[in-house]
């Protein structure tokens, strides 16, 4: 039974070019694994304290978005793509996915945070934190890089030529 991958991102993929780029990999992933994507509504942030005003409160936003991520993830093994996570190289990520399969952790949810990152509840619930880079990527570009790495990982597992040019 193949892995069941669920990419969870906060906010719509705004730009047509990014949707097109992601589709390049999303259309190839089903060769190797079930794949679906959920784009959650971003938190609206509410009003801040006594001084009023309509400035968004990052903590409120993160909590709201976190609740939505946890609901979308359901019972899946939850993996956060987070700049502070563990840095694997691409063959290491391929091995890591194979280890999930061997451990019968087939339902995998990969979450990409919003502009403010993940809430404490999300960190507490997550089973793994991986980083795609020590650098901070635009949180829209992260999802493109994420699907490319998922595709690359399977192409490594299957010895396909994609990984080496």
């Amino acid at each position: 039974m193949p892995l069941d991958l669920h990419l969870i991102a906060v906010g719509k993929t705004r730009d047509g070019w990014l949707r097109e780029g992601m589709a390049e990999y999303e259309k190839r992933l089903p060769r190797y694994a079930a794949y679906r994507k959920t784009e959650l509504a971003p938190g609206t942030g509410g009003k801040t304290g006594a001084k009023g005003g309509s400035k968004a409160n990052p903590e409120v936003i993160k909590r709201l978005e976190g609740d939505r991520i946890l609901e979308a993830a359901g019972d899946a093994f939850l993996v956060l793509f987070d700049v502070e996570g563990k840095a694997l190289d691409s063959p290491g990520f391929a091995d890591w996915l194979a280890a999930r399969e061997r451990a019968n952790q087939r339902q995998l949810a990969f979450a990409v945070g919003g502009a403010w990152g993940f809430s404490e509840a999300v960190y507490a619930r997550a089973q793994a934190r991986l980083t795609l880079s020590r650098m901070t990527f635009n949180h829209q570009i992260v999802r493109l890089v994420a699907v490319e790495q998922l595709y690359r990982a399977f192409s490594i597992q299957h010895g396909e030529p994609y990984h080496n040019g």
Copy 2:
């Protein structure tokens, strides 16, 4: 005097969506620095040894592409984006660029290799090797990530809101 950035990549940026994505950042970079891009013809590889055949020879390709990179870089301070390079975070990359400016190293060439990587001559000539990720990215996606990180670095230096959402 602002920095003078030259992105050197091997091969055309094939996909319209990637060209569009890069343009998003390329059109904003001139606020902060001179910027231009050179896309070199990829090496054709020639024929392999005694057994003949038309299989491309990676070493021949790398050497050809390397010569073209060095020619394009001219006298600039040459930086390689290379998976084995130094891993900076985004504020660290912003500081690194500021240090180049202080050292009066204003002509910076950033090279992104082809599918087979860089030749020995390119490694020998380069003044710095930085990595955008421990993971191997598609060499087309690398150039998108590279321009985004250049733009992000300047937005950090200038305290623009881009970096934090």
